[in-house]
Symmetry: C2
Subunit: 200 residues, 2 copies
């Protein structure tokens, strides 16, 4: 894949909604060309096909998430608070980019099949969160996990599905309300607590 100009990359987002709505295989390359304003011949100059176009969009999204998540992970404060920050960060990116986010989740299979994307996903999320879980065990703000990696994956699942639901439904709730709900579930769990750990 050739290095592609910023202006072109920007235009591609115009097709994200289309792909998210219809799925990649119901979307014709000509439709993508029309929706993005980039001629078909140009698309093929930069990409080998539809799949690669979607992969580009998704990788871009994951990079954005990775950036915001990294900031949250490396912030000040106890790990539990930083974890809440991670949740806010991921949901923030998802709600700001609903179309690519829907496309990503709608095509999770593709994402797991393309090694490049799987790696990006891992770097964007699993690794930082896993690190955070370890730090939480150190500073005492989180319990010690038996299997931090699989907990990190579950956390990703929880946040992603919550974000997706909002993206599909058109985000009728405020971002903070959603993030608080997710953080509360993750930190406090569903069982009642006598001593609350995460505030509302």
């Amino acid at each position: 894949m050739r290095e592609l100009p910023v202006q072109l990359a920007t235009k591609l987002y115009g097709a994200a909604e289309l792909i998210a709505d219809q799925g990649l295989d119901n979307t014709k390359i000509d439709d993508i060309a029309e929706a993005s304003g980039v001629p078909k011949a140009t698309l093929y100059y930069y990409f080998t096909g539809k799949e690669e176009i979607l992969a580009f969009l998704l990788k871009d999204l994951l990079t954005a998430i990775a950036g915001d998540v990294a900031v949250a992970v490396n912030a000040e404060g106890p790990a539990s608070e930083r974890l809440a920050g991670v949740v806010r960060a991921q949901l923030g990116v998802m709600l700001r980019n609903p179309a690519p986010c829907r496309a990503l989740v709608g095509d999770l299979g593709r994402a797991t099949r393309l090694p490049e994307l799987a790696a990006a996903l891992s770097a964007a999320f699993y690794e930082p969160v896993e690190k955070l879980l370890r730090e939480g065990a150190e500073d005492g703000s989180l319990r010690r996990a038996e299997d931090p990696m699989s907990e990190a994956v579950m956390i990703f699942g929880t946040v992603t599905i919550a974000g997706l639901m909002e993206a599909i439904m058109g985000a009728h709730r405020e971002m903070d309300a959603i993030a608080n709900g997710v953080a509360r579930l993750l930190l406090d769990g569903l069982a009642p607590r006598t001593t609350g750990a995460a505030g509302a």
Copy 2:
């Protein structure tokens, strides 16, 4: 879609792995015919196309999950224990049917686009769990949720991603170990508890 013979339905599962590996659009109808042993002409006699074949497989999976989840929801005991049972039920079906399960998650987009599947998903999971959350608030074994529906969705996400990870990696851990990890995260949360609520 015509009423289809049991024997044929069974054969179709032979193609599930193929679809899960490659994704639906990289799988030729002729490949499905070959892998399942059902001739292409017969496939078109019963289905209008690829999409409908996948939809059938997924609906079947969701029906299986719905059945097991219903049993767990309506069991004896406090809601918190029954919720752990729900987790075990869903993971059980997923680990017993890794291929359709991967195909489902790989094509979540399609699943949300096909109304019939969305309805099946809702009936299979969201509604029973939502009910369970309400009952837990009554019997005191679960805290009262502000928004039971969205919590149900998050729970589904957590369990699904955990199950998917195992399905992709080839289930190296025992089902019970996975289920316990998930249940612990959901019930107890990540923050340390002085008074444990869910056992290991």
